[in-house]
Amino acid sequence: MSVIVECKDLTVKYGKKVALNNFSVEFEEGRIVGLLGPNGSGKTTFIKTLSGLITKSAGNVTIAGEKLGTATKSIVSYLPERPYFPSSMRVKDMIDFFNDFYTDFNPQTAYEMLETLKISPKDKIKALSKGTREKVQLVLVMSRSAKLYLLDEPMGGVDPAARDFILKTILTNYSKDACVIISTHLIQDVEQVLDEVAFIKEGRLAMFKSADEIREENGKSIDGLFRAVFAC
């Protein structure tokens, strides 16, 4: 397995506040990684930095050996934690948009998933509920054959039944040589699919282990360990 994300001494600051502090980690392809940590620990900042939405203050980050830029954006499929599609557009317009800009996007896959979810491509984004918007965003993001998927709170705004669909969508659609990084608070829901877990605490990497190691060494589930490590 080759390294897809290499991050060395990454520091990100918002004004005087340090969001990521000398953060170093390597993620390999073919893995599903859980990025776990309490609110404000730096999970979203890390994902946004990899997506190119935030400029790093210091350190080095490469994706598939490339420095962050246009080349890395063409192989990274990013799902933010908030609605980000223009509300005046229709679902079909967004499929056309993705199809125009991402060479690894498969519109057929997107239409099939929308049909399963009973979402009409003719629907306007602003007419959809928050949960349905999130599903549409996930459908489009997962319809790409990317090298790296960055999913920030993919199940944050949806009901438990929809969470199962989202997990299934992630598992059945990601390229097997790709790496999936999932940032979430809903650890119990994703625990079963994670290969590796990275705990972030106060902008630093607190722990990075395989899911099996955590269970064997600690005799606890990932959720249990999370509660123990980050107990208030």
Partner: protein
């Protein structure tokens, strides 16, 4: 990729542009019909009032068409590049200058189309397609040659592009801050505006300083300083081009190095 960005930019903006053109066409037609009716019934008080109101409405809509495109372009840049939709735009595999250029070209093309549509609506209302030649004749009789009119139009065209670039830069600066982004955008605007005024004063001072004798003669003769038109407009055009380039270079730098979509 720039062509694709432009395609989607026009697709996202054509609705309100076409909506405005339809409204303008309707009010111009109403003004035309009422004018014709008034010509047929010159003493009709009700027609006099409604015709005047319809002409006033047509003028308001024409101004609105010219202003709305500008305002919408600025608001769209803020929403599409610097707020939530920026999560989509900044994760596209396109270069930052392409994003910026697409946001400059689209409203620019709409503005040119606005001018043509407004011209046609006036021509429709006054029932004379050749109103431009009348305007040109007026300007010619005021001592302006056709070359000077072309120069003036060119300066206005560049100035419009510079204005868009300046507003985008102010937003880029404001939104690179960690808080009070809109306020900081406004502060940036005030600072850049003041810098522009200082540059303008320096420019005029230099021109006057090098031509003091000639200007004194013109002032005494109380004639229009046509011979200095080229100097003033030329220097304004050059400064506008330079400022436009500087604004956009800084904007691209800000988007590349100071992007902060918190």
């Amino acid at each position: 990729m720039l062509a694709k960005l432009l395609k989607h930019e026009f697709k996202a903006t054509y609705r309100y542009q076409c909506g405005m053109y339809i409204v303008l066409f309707i009010v111009s037609i109403i003004a035309l019909v009422l004018s014709v009716a008034l010509e047929a019934n010159p003493g009709n008080g009700a027609l006099i009032v409604t015709t005047s109101l319809s002409k006033l409405m047509a003028i308001i809509v024409r101004v609105a068409v010219l202003v709305v495109t500008f305002v919408m372009a600025i608001l769209r840049y803020r929403k599409n590049i610097l707020k939530d939709e920026g999560y989509l735009m900044h994760t596209l595999p396109v270069k930052k200058w392409q994003l910026l250029v697409s946001k400059l070209i689209t409203p620019y093309v709409w503005t040119v189309l606005n001018i043509i549509i407004v011209y046609l609506s006036i021509a429709l209302e006054v029932r004379d397609i050749d109103i431009l030649s009348l305007t040109t004749m007026d300007l010619s009789s005021a001592g302006l040659s056709s070359g000077m009119i072309v120069m003036f139009v060119l300066a206005m065209a560049v100035s419009l592009l510079t204005s868009y670039s300046m507003f985008y830069l102010c937003l880029n600066i404001g939104y690179s801050m960690s808080k009070d982004k809109d306020l900081m955008s406004f502060v940036s605007y005030v600072v850049i505006y003041l810098i522009n005024q200082v540059i303008g004063v320096i420019e005029m001072f230099i021109i006057f300083a090098f031509n003091f004798e000639s200007f004194s003669a013109i002032t005494k003769a109380q004639t229009f300083p046509v011979e200095y038109f080229w100097m003033v407009m030329g220097s304004a055009l050059v400064i506008s081009i330079i400022m436009c380039v500087i604004y956009n270079m800084i904007s691209v730098y800000m988007l590349n190095k100071r992007l902060n979509l918190e």
